[in-house]
């Protein structure tokens, strides 16, 4: 018997006489928290990420300020002009490692947890470009901010890869001391537009 058939047989025999579960109890919803965007800002900053809020017309300037002259890569579908940037055309990991920063869009922002989620569409690029450079500048529109995790899950397409980012990379592995920045970008700068 193949391993597959054997395991499925064992599972069935382990569960013989066990009835399937009834309907699942619904997961509770968070209560209304008032100003979602303010909550989002507070919770993102709580992870020691930087948040800049600006009007649509000032997006380019806010991004330039966040970059402060760093070398930068952008995804091919970015709807914004970043002077001096390299557009990703399948750069190798080594090439990305020599670039300081990346500018991307996001798919959704979660207020309750201060999380931004990328689903790696052309305005966010493939996963590697928002991972290897040390500074991630991420542009989020206020209209993209939702209350909580279930709202984000409902919006996302599971067929696409997704990356959920809550603050910069961190570890508490040495004596439980929190250190920002191990392998992912050590600096996260969210530009909140609108």
């Amino acid at each position: 018997m193949s391993a597959r058939d054997e395991i499925l047989r064992r599972v069935r025999s382990a569960l013989s006489g066990v009835s399937p579960a009834e309907d699942l109890p619904p997961a509770p919803r968070v209560p209304d928290r008032g100003d979602l965007v303010a909550l989002f800002v507070e919770r993102v900053e709580d992870y020691r990420a930087v948040v800049t809020r600006c009007a649509v017309a000032d997006r380019e300037a806010a991004v330039a300020e966040a970059l402060a002259g760093a070398s930068v890569v952008v995804p091919p579908g970015l709807d914004l002009d970043v002077p001096g940037s390299v557009v990703d055309d399948r750069l190798t990991a080594d090439e990305l490692d020599r670039i300081d920063a990346v500018v991307t869009r996001a798919r959704v922002g979660i207020a309750e947890t201060g999380t931004i989620v990328l689903d790696h569409q052309p305005d966010q690029g493939r996963r590697a470009i928002s991972l290897v450079p040390d500074l991630h500048v991420c542009i989020v529109d206020v209209s993209q901010v939702v209350p909580d995790i279930p709202d984000a899950i409902a919006l996302l397409d599971p067929a696409r890869p997704t990356t959920w980012i809550s603050g910069p990379s961190a570890t508490s592995d040495i004596e439980l001391d929190r250190v920002e920045g191990v392998h992912g970008p050590r600096k996260l700068h969210v530009v909140l537009v609108g």
Binding site: V11, L15, T162, W164, S166, I174, G181
Partner: protein, 492 residues
């Protein structure tokens, strides 16, 4: 194959050694209390935490009760998404599958994301035997690997090492296996983390094959989920050309939306954060983005054994958050190594016997590594009633000794108790004997317990197992019956 460390002594022996290590106890107390407080604060923020726990438990329970269907669905959706699905009955089969994938690409090294399942099956050792080096990339796992050590906590496997020890390990060992630690390495956690970043980056950039586990596997979409903090997970899941994920069959949830209660429960219970820094989800192969060859190994290795246990089945709901470790008074004092397994603490005390059976002495000692205080059940995000399963597993251990020629001391004691309690004359006699023993033992004892009663010292013979870890109050010199007779129920 078992998930326990080979050659480990049974829990009581290992625990006594650990208790003698004051540095270990100090590190553990600091760590468990810090995480415990953080967890309590972020859990208190959620108004309906108890309802969320019910929802989380229900998602996992429902998936387990119809596991065969969900596994078939998962296989189908993974295959449709371009992944190759393998099945492994045990550790050996799983390791062989991973080794074969690595060999087919001609590599002599793989990078690894921290994963309990690959620790359980001893993957690193199996690969090494095939001439393939497996680099752990999680900071704590790196410390454990470079220190030739064993993990001691699910979440922070190097919880037993302090910063000075970590610095020493990095200075001594990094150079042997890659980029050495810088000369000016201090014991600042930020500096140590920086050294790990440099050391591992060259490995990430050149790795062709990565190995991961998964926190969840979504049946209807074929999506795997990895929850992490450092970004080493993202590196392994994104940069290499080939990805092999070893996934226990109990990781399945039915639908994409079932991830909701789980992703709300796990980070708060685990690291005590609203959300962990990074969560990655992927479904098979995404053209032009990430690994273009994706393998998933579905692992049994004792899980179907646990699934067949009506009381113990709930242990398979575990999402490895480690909250139960951090609140456990036993774990806090003895640490993870005493459990002799990658699964320590309260969950380890039930999971190891459920996965492996209680035939060997080491595993059989685990259900006793608890005071049954119930703190673990209260914090468990998926409401595993660990104390009830512990009691049930104790019964299983006792049952497994029924046929023994030499009965266990405990079994003799219980039989004698049953014999004495079943007859009032015998009981009176037993109490007198105990009163006599009390006078004798009281004379030999060194300690006085709170309340002024003397404690018996370490008893000789089979009873040593009990008194070695506890102060046994010396029996009172007069029994209640004797007192009643003497004073006419207190009237004289």
């Amino acid at each position: 194959m078992s998930g326990t460390f080979v050659g480990m002594p049974a829990f009581p022996t290992a625990a006594r050694e650990a208790l003698g290590d004051t540095q270990l106890r100090r590190n553990l107390a600091h760590a468990t209390h810090t995480i415990r407080d953080k967890r309590a604060a972020v859990v208190a923020e959620v108004e309906d935490w108890e309802d969320l726990r019910l929802a989380g438990a229900a998602v996992k329970e429902a998936a387990l009760r119809d596991l065969a269907t969900h596994l078939e669905t998962l296989e189908e959706s993974l295959t449709r998404a371009g992944a190759t699905v393998h099945w492994a009955r045990d550790a050996e089969e799983a390791c062989a599958i991973v080794a074969e994938v690595a060999r087919s690409h001609g590599v002599d090294e793989v990078v690894k994301v921290k994963s309990m399942a690959t620790g359980e099956i001893g993957l690193n050792e199996a690969l090494e035997a095939e001439g393939i080096l497996a680099w752990e990339t999680d900071l704590a796992e790196l410390i454990v690997q470079l220190g030739d050590d064993l993990p001691s906590h699910i979440l922070v496997p190097a919880i037993h090492r302090n910063r000075a020890e970590v610095r020493e390990i990095f200075r001594r060992r990094m150079g042997d296996v890659g980029r050495p630690a810088p000369d000016d390495l201090t014991d600042e956690p930020a500096v140590l983390a920086g050294a790990a970043r440099e050391h591992l980056r060259e490995k990430f950039l050149r790795a062709k094959v990565a190995v991961s586990g998964a926190n969840f596997a979504v049946a209807d979409t074929g999506t795997l989920v990895v929850v992490e903090s450092e970004g080493n997970g993202r590196m392994c899941l994104t940069l290499p050309e080939v990805l092999v994920s070893v996934v226990g069959i109990e990781k399945v949830v039915a639908t994409w939306s079932d991830l909701d209660p789980m992703l709300r429960l796990l980070p708060r219970s685990s690291t005590g954060e609203r959300m962990n820094p990074y969560t990655s989800t992927w479904s098979g192969v995404t053209p032009g983005d990430g690994p273009q060859e994706v393998h998933v190994v579905l692992l049994d290795n004792g899980r179907t054994r646990a699934l067949a246990d009506d009381v113990g089945r709930q242990a398979l709901r575990c999402i490895r958050c480690s909250a139960c470790l951090n609140v456990c008074p036993v774990y806090e004092r003895v640490g993870g190594h005493a459990y002799g397994s990658v699964y320590p603490g309260p969950i380890g005390a039930i999971l190891n016997p459920l996965l492996n059976g209680v035939a060997d002495e080491q595993t059989a000692s685990l259900p006793y590594a608890s005071s049954l205080c119930g703190a673990c059940f209260e914090v468990c995000p998926v409401r595993i009633d660990i104390p009830s399963v512990l009691v049930d597993q104790r019964a299983a251990v006792v049952d497994s000794h029924r046929g023994d020629r030499v009965p266990k001391a405990e079994a003799v004691a219980m039989k004698t108790a049953a014999w004495a309690f079943s007859d009032s004359r015998r009981l009176a006699w037993a109490e007198k004997a105990s009163g006599l023993a009390g006078r004798v033992l009281g004379r030999f004892s060194r300690t006085t317990l709170p309340g002024g009663r003397t404690a018996a010292g370490r008893l000789p013979g089979p009873a040593a197992g009990w008194t070695g870890a506890r102060d046994l109050p010396a029996p009172p010199t007069e029994s209640f019956r004797e007192w009643w007779d003497r004073t006419d129920g207190g009237r004289t």
